[in-house]
């Protein structure tokens, strides 16, 4: 009985390191194929459209309501004094530094990494990935590299949009519901809007975008066993992308932007 228990620990550890190794190899291959020709501009463009343009409604709506509720909460929680400058400054800081990239990342993770895992997973189980190889096309170069590039470039743009709409959401609630003066609110927003904050958010967004595509592609590629396998890959892609975004968010903030 005791031996079984030890064997169990051993196999769990082996599986863990196996998975880490596979992911590292996959990431390395994906990155290598991003910078070596041939490139597939058509597919890159389609992925950029898929990740960037078609995520705009989702991003816009979530950013608007995030900004709006942030303004409301700050007002309720900290309205004792100086509410006007407090609300507008916290909204602009919170959105650009944290909520824009993180909420944008999580929403895109749900939308995009699931779709990628399902598409690539289906290609895997229907032998389309093998077919690519037999047609002298490297599947990692053809499927993964364009998605990684599209993810890393499109998410910052989406987050920029989210920043603007999020701050606007706060502005609408602040001026319409809480009755702040429009001019003063805008002045405060501009005073507290720092380029560094925006840029740190965009750098994060780029990394999140990369992680989203990576998880979608990785789980799709590794999927086995028909419809059930694809379903599992989709779930795993969303869950792991979300966890990675939140973890990476802390690490990046701690390392680069906490001073």
């Amino acid at each position: 009985m005791r031996w079984n228990f030890l064997a169990l620990i051993g196999s769990v550890i082996l599986q863990f390191f196996g998975a880490v190794g596979r992911l590292a190899m996959f990431t390395g291959k994906g990155l290598l194929h991003c910078v070596t020709p041939p490139f597939y501009p058509r597919i890159l463009l389609r992925q950029m459209l898929q990740i960037g343009y078609y995520s705009l409604p989702v991003i816009g709506l979530t950013a608007f309501f995030t900004g709006a509720v942030l303004a409301l909460q700050i007002y309720i929680g900290g309205a004792r004094f100086n509410a006007e400058s407090l609300v507008s400054s916290i909204v602009v800081l919170g959105i650009t530094r944290e909520l824009g990239p993180v909420i944008g990342g999580l929403m895109v993770a749900g939308r995009v990494s699931a779709a990628m895992a399902a598409e690539i997973g289906t290609m895997r189980v229907t032998e389309q990935i093998d077919a690519l190889t037999t047609l002298s096309t490297n599947p990692v170069k053809y499927l993964v590299a364009p998605r990684l590039i599209a993810g890393a470039t499109m998410l910052p743009l989406l987050v920029l949009v989210a920043d603007v709409i999020g701050v606007f959401g706060g502005f609408v609630v602040g001026t319409e519901k809480l009755g702040f003066n429009v001019g003063i609110y805008l002045q405060n927003t501009i005073d507290f809007l720092h380029m560094d904050d925006v840029i740190s958010g965009l750098v994060k967004a780029s990394i999140f975008g990369f992680l989203i595509s990576l998880m979608g592609c990785y789980h799709g590629f590794m999927s086995r066993g028909g419809a059930q396998g694809v379903g599992r890959a989709t779930t795993n892609a969303v869950v792991s992308a979300s966890i990675m975004i939140l973890t990476a968010n802390y690490i990046i903030t701690e390392l680069f932007f906490a001073q």
Binding site: T126, D130, T134, N138
Partner: protein, 264 residues
């Protein structure tokens, strides 16, 4: 160097002692097989005997654990990257389910190997794709459809057109008639024979459909428990003197081959 080797009278495809296992399951236990240039070899055998795995080893989709695989006398067992792609460019493959790319139109599927693999301009590749579609009996307007709009038989034909689009020297067929009605199966068999003859290609097919095997084979080999247990001319398959082959081609449940019916 490949073409130099090709003229030396080597067999087109040759496997020596190829083994492959997945976890504790030994799938291939030492496959020895040769296919001569221009020949059509059909490999018969039940499900789970290692037919597909062997095919994938030759194609380089799987790495064998042991043994060697030669094509035109060149050792391709452990080729990687560019060298592998070079060898791959001389092969075509018809997958069991067609494996058409559903994000692309039918003609883009057929032209894929030309555009992506050989860097041909799209317009020119399109013309060739349409000609190949006509060769398998599909009209030009089918080329504009997406694969999901096609019936099973049509998908197989598009898969065949894609496999022959780059005029490969070797073509592999993975159960070309599975899932088709008997008439469509015969249509596909005829097309395979016709296309292969026109190309002068060497082919290797795996199937458990004896009607298909009789039609397309020059030679037949039977695989059982990861080994080639019989290999001979297609005409000799009915009097092979091998109990396993007899049982298989006559489709009898009783005989030396025991199907595993209990749960694994």
């Amino acid at each position: 160097m490949n073409t130099a080797a090709a003229s030396n009278g080597h067999p087109k495809i040759s496997l020596k002692g190829v083994t492959k296992h997945f976890g504790p399951k030994q799938v291939l236990r030492g496959i020895d097989l040769e296919v001569q240039r221009g020949q059509s070899l059909v490999i018969i055998g039940g499900s789970g005997t290692g037919k597909s795995v062997m095919l994938k080893c030759i194609l380089g989709l799987l790495q064998p654990d042991g043994g060697s695989i030669h094509i035109d006398g060149q050792d391709v067992t452990h080729l990687k990257g560019r060298d592998r792609e070079e060898v791959m460019a001389r092969m075509g493959m018809l997958f069991q389910g067609g494996a058409l790319f559903d994000s692309l139109k039918v003609w883009e599927n057929v032209a894929f190997g030309l555009i992506q693999g050989k860097g041909m301009p799209r317009e020119k590749a399109r013309d060739i794709a349409m000609a190949k579609l006509a060769q398998v009996g599909l009209s030009a307007d089918v080329g504009e459809l997406s694969p999901a709009e096609l019936s099973g038989g049509m998908q197989k034909r598009v898969g065949l057109a894609r496999a022959i689009a780059t005029d490969p020297e070797i073509i592999f067929f993975d159960e070309p008639t599975t899932g088709l009605d008997p008439i469509m199966a015969d249509v596909i068999n005829d097309l395979i024979v016709k296309c292969v003859k026109e190309l002068g290609a060497t082919t290797m097919s795996i199937t458990h459909d004896m009607a298909s095997a009789r039609k397309i084979a020059d030679r037949v080999a039977m695989i059982y428990e990861g080994r080639i247990i019989w290999h001979g001319m297609a005409g000799d398959v009915d009097h092979s003197g091998n109990d396993h082959v007899d049982q298989f081609i006559n489709g009898r449940a009783e005989g030396p081959i025991r199907m595993q019916v209990r749960k694994l």
